[in-house]
């Protein structure tokens, strides 16, 4: 076939183009974060590379530095001017605390339930799974208004613990179904052999089966972390002062204008953990995103 070489070159070129299109918004955002204000808000043309890079936006949002006074400078917006309004350190801390805790909780609790659902055949187990699945499909708005009241009564409103519980709630169905699919991969004969040797159910679970699905647990934990890290609506409704990063960023948009430098800096910083984690779980990504329905 004479055209096969040119075909494969064409395939490379098209692939590079497609990938570039999907990477572009992130790259543009990251680029904006190191532009000086004058380059971001240039009304005459779009500034691409001809600017002097600055890390001022990161200094203010990630390190909590003072916002520079822009008297005579080119500030397109007056925005929120309160002291520390653009300090993202608190929200980074909150997001970390919430994501790590809810990941740990959801994974741990789901492990117990997933093991039972995979190993013990009991009446109603399929119904139970369907119910858990329906929780995954639950639109957050349907529970958010009562949750606001319930959290208020329990003193959980605007607390880290409250959001941790809320994120655990949305992560449990995903973690449970995913972990069950990993448990299902382990032959039940292994449990039987361990129990003939005198292990209790819990020992069999903890000492024998659990180590065999370490990779699956790690993938589950990573996905739970990403879901919690990126979650928006529950955090928005259930907090006033504790702000996770996605919610904090939206406060940088004001009726008088948006602080694009700060938005892009905090936004870019917020993407980095997810990038690192998703590259670690590439092998189990499809299974994770389909809650175990497609095995890779």
């Amino acid at each position: 076939m004479p055209s096969s070489a040119s075909k494969s070159v064409l395939r490379y070129l098209v692939s590079i183009f497609v990938v570039a299109v999907f990477v572009f918004p992130i790259a543009w955002f990251a680029l904006t974060s190191i532009k000086p204000i004058s380059a971001v808000f240039n009304k005459d043309r779009v500034v691409v590379f001809d600017f002097k890079p600055t890390f001022d936006n990161y200094r203010v949002t990630v390190l909590g530095g003072e916002k520079e006074n822009l008297v005579g400078g080119q500030s397109a917006s007056m925005g929120t001017s309160g002291k520390g309004a653009y300090d993202g350190r608190g929200s980074i801390m909150s997001s970390l605390i919430i994501a790590v805790s809810s990941t740990f909780l959801a994974t741990f609790l789901a492990l117990l339930a997933a093991y039972a659902l995979s190993r013990m055949k009991f009446w109603g187990s399929q119904g139970y799974l369907n119910w858990v699945l329906s929780q995954r499909f639950l639109p957050p708005v349907a529970i958010i208004i009562p949750l606001v009241f319930i959290f208020h009564d329990l003193g959980l409103r605007d607390t880290h613990l409250g959001i941790i519980i809320a994120h655990t709630l949305i992560n449990i169905p995903i973690a449970l179904l995913l972990l069950k699919s990993f448990f299902d991969d382990v032959p039940i004969e292994i449990d039987q052999a361990a129990m003939i040797d005198g292990a209790t159910r819990f020992q069999c679970f903890y000492l024998v089966v659990l180590p065999m699905i370490r990779g699956g647990i790690a993938a589950t934990a990573v996905l739970c972390f990403i879901f919690s890290w990126t979650e928006f609506i529950l955090s928005l409704f259930l907090t006033n002062t504790i702000r996770t990063i996605p919610v904090k960023i939206t406060t940088f948009v004001t009726s008088t204008g948006s602080e694009w430098g700060y938005i892009s800096a905090l936004g870019t910083a917020a993407i980095i953990p997810g990038f690192i984690f998703i590259l670690l779980v590439q092998n189990h990504l499809v299974r994770g995103l389909t809650m175990g329905a497609i095995k890779d």
């Binding site: 494969s8 395939r11 490379y12 692939s15 990938v19 999907f22 918004p25 992130i26 543009w28 955002f29 779009v46 609790l109 117990l112 093991y115 039972a116 013990m120 139970y128 858990v132 929780q135 499909f137 639950l138 639109p139 708005v141 349907a142 958010i144 208004i145 009562p146 319930i150 519980i165 709630l169 292990a199 209790t200 819990f202 020992q203 069999c204 024998v208 890290w229 928006f232 609506i233 928005l236 409704f237 990063i245 996605p246 960023i249 939206t250 948009v253 948006s258 694009w260 938005i263 917020a270 993407i271 990038f275 998703i278 990504l285 499809v286 995103l289 389909t290 809650m291 329905a293 497609i294």
Partner: protein
Amino acid sequence: MGSAQVRQTSKGKLPRWLTSEHPLPWLFPVTSILVVFGLYPVLYSLWLSFYKRNPATRTEKFLPSWNWNKLIGDERVWDAVTVTFTYAAIALTIQLVLGMLIALLLDSDRRGFGLFRALMTLPLVVPPAVTGMMFLLMYDSSFGVISNALYSLNLLSPDHPILGSGSTALWGVIVADVWQWTPFMVLIMLAGLRALPKEPFEAASIDGATAFQSFFFLTLPMMSKIIALAVLVRGIDLFRIFDYVKVMTDSGPGTATETLTAYAGTVYFKSANFSYASTVALATLILVLVVSTVFIKVFKIRF
């Protein structure tokens, strides 16, 4: 590996409920969280929806059918249903077709394609609220890179900002959704393509089938289960869409991009009518449950 270890560990040191053979202790923690913070709020919502709120006196009165009748007669709800379905249908179709095409493109073992596939997954980890910001920045009518590109191609005039015009705002939001979630489809389709058996394709090519024929008569039918699953998972998320709309347009201009969830949020935040907001939110839930149940039954999806 574990049996030697196990025998050494003394039995009976663990509390009774942990050594039980009954599934209850294993399921109890998860069940209690799902019931207290998942099921109970839904019932609470339902109970709230049975109360009529009097905005003047700020009191509630038990009138079970009031909010539901109001919902049926509320034109904004029907507009929101239309927007939700339009949004979901358009976004899903584009993501499905693009996802399949890109998967076919990137399904290669040649050098570099592994990197391409890894890069394609990056949009998935961007918080949707941040995605909304990224596109807001690129859509900005004076310095946005997308707007300016469209100006120079004469596809858009500066008098009609993308998100500020009723005719284009929904498309603006859909583009952000497509950008973020097409990679999801690509990943699923790639997994499907890689799991296909080789023999039928070899047989077909010996029999003289074209690439198009083997795609439509072999690939698609063999992947129908996977495609159905992808449509289900993505479709439900599309019905629940909130983040992009809230961040990018806040339902505007007017109500051009107001989805059901966004409307529920608006009722909650702007009129503080919790009973009616709950009713609208429950309507979303009912819609999602009906559509997904029918879909799961029709396509026999099992998790």
